[in-house]
């Protein structure tokens, strides 16, 4: 029954400034890349329709500002997110170090039902650049320590792995959404405390 409904997946991209969040999104949605850096102000989103497991879903991808000075605008859009994408720059070790704080901050603001199982995806961007500061192994170790987050190495510039990464993001987001739906369905026999049922019993089957 839920399959027939139009599905909207809300995806949030987080990471330090300049790691390529906007570029990744632009590459994925518009198939475009620009070398020019322009800081994102606040947050904005693009939408894209994708097919996941024979279902058409609309992805609402929220691109955020990594810079501290733009954080004064709120992050209410974290609420109701279906997947969070963490991005770091493989050539900049500091962007890797701050992943923890991005994750924590997201979990606090979004306050999902099960923080431990909330789907994150880690992207190590700019793999086209040399020299590398964060090895693939180190990133994978971090992912393991966080309950097995999927990890992708991407290049927004070369469009490397971007499609695959977002395909996985969409799938993870969809499972998350289905799970929350299931959660509500765990109580199929709802106890209705309405007057109508009461009146029936009052009228006919009175014990006295």
């Amino acid at each position: 029954m839920a399959t027939r409904k139009k599905v909207l997946l809300k995806v949030i991209i987080l990471g330090d400034s300049g790691v390529g969040k906007t570029s990744l999104m632009n590459q994925y949605v518009n198939k475009k890349f620009s070398n020019q850096y322009k800081a994102t102000i606040g947050a904005d989103f693009l939408t894209k329709e994708v097919i996941v497991d024979d279902r058409i879903v609309t992805m609402q991808i929220w691109d955020t500002a990594g810079q501290e000075r733009f954080q004064s605008l709120g992050v209410a859009f974290y609420r109701g997110a279906d997947c969070c994408v963490l991005v770091f720059d493989v050539t900049a070790p500091n962007t890797f170090k701050s992943l923890d704080s991005w994750r924590d901050e997201f979990l606090i603001q979004a306050s999902p039902r099960e923080p431990e199982n909330f789907p994150f995806v880690l992207l190590g961007n700019k793999v086209d650049l040399e020299p590398r500061a964060i090895s693939s192994k180190r990133a994978q170790q971090w992912c393991q320590s966080k309950n097995g987050i999927p990890y992708f190495e991407t290049s927004a510039k070369e469009a490397l792995n971007v499609e695959q990464a977002f395909q996985s993001i969409a799938r993870n987001a969809l499972t998350q959404q289905n799970q929350t739906v299931d959660l509500y369905n765990e109580f199929p026999d709802q106890i209705k405390l309405t007057n109508t049922t009461n009146r029936n019993s009052n009228g006919d089957s009175c014990a006295c």
């Binding site: 102000i41 606040g42 605008l73 709120g74 209410a76 859009f77 609420r79 170090k97 924590d104």
Partner: protein, 435 residues
Amino acid sequence: MMTSQVEDPIPRALASTPSSSTSGCLSGDDTSEDRLLPSSLAAEELQLALNKEAGEEELQKAISRCKELVLECDQCTPERKWLVRHLIELRLRLQECKEALEDPEHPRNKSSGVSNRTVRGHHLVLQPLLRSTSSRYCDHCTGAIWSVVQAWYQCDDCGYSCHHKCLSSILRECAHVTASERGGYELDICPELGLSSQKYMCAECKTNIPIDSTWSEARKCDYTGLYYCSACHWGSSAVIPARIIHNWDFGPQPVCQASLQLLRITATRPLINIEKLNPRLFTLVHELNLVRRLRNELNGMRKYLLVCRNANEDHLLWKSVDIPHLIDTPGLYSLQDLLDTFSAELPSKLHNIAHIFSQHIKVLCEVCKGRGHICEVCSNEEVLFPFDANAVTCTSCNAVFHKSCFSRKKNCPKCQRLQQRKEQEVLVNKNDDDE
């Protein structure tokens, strides 16, 4: 049919024959005032370039002469100020002249004769004859301007009007220049010193004002607190800024022509900072307090609309706000704003704008809605905005909470978290170094 005007009994600073003695004596009289033109500028040759449609060569010459004069005079003197002003004027003329040479359609080529003149900061434009039959009076000689037959000029900036023949003897400085020079209003209510301090002369034209005379009375200007002759003070009245600021008094008071022109052109400029001048007014005047609250709210909303692409596409800010300073600089009020507050027009106008804005931010726009905050303390699903009345913003991390929630907490939870993270980072770095 030239009307015979009352001949001016006193010599003017810009008399057509500028003997060095007249101009020297006048400026010597008022060394403390910067109202008078410096003697060096009064020289015919300098004025010439602005009074005639001078050629490029003439203007170049005048510019270099003016530059020399600027270098000769002392720094920070009123004389230098006037010379620099003049220099800018000359350069603008030169630019105009060059443009006219290249473009045959230029208005300068079309009009015959002298159309623009610059005197004492006024940008006087020749008015077409037969334009209107409404009565108009010369700001200089107070005689009627018969626009059907008399050539007359009007200042583009301040509205000063005068006959062609009065051009060379204009005394009043352009209100536009006075306003930008002074920067703000006279803030004392009618700062009166008395006729004796003016040596029984009109504050503007220096005509003697005898006290015992029946035909020439001294007229007081409520704005400047000075006395004027009947030629400079026509008995017009205006609302006085200082009276509003201190007494919330909107009663029109008699003012001289110069003050009238000044108040008229500055009426819509945001020049009054009530927070600084008389903050108690907000507690005493309910409407003003309401206006302040609404303006601050709108200023908060403006920040959202400025960075919202949807609002930019719709030109929401441009469309809804006709007076930008109302929401750009919420602390400053123009004279007109205060008048509108008094008449209760402004609060309802601001209410309407606030409604349009909040409708966009909180209901219509997905992006703006997403940029709201969620109170961390109560974790309520309600989306909060910094401009909401029940919201409070942390001054150091900009996180937004419910006022009631925040007051229960001693410290901002986000700031605490940031602090903890920082400490942890230092520890980790230390361990890294040890290894």
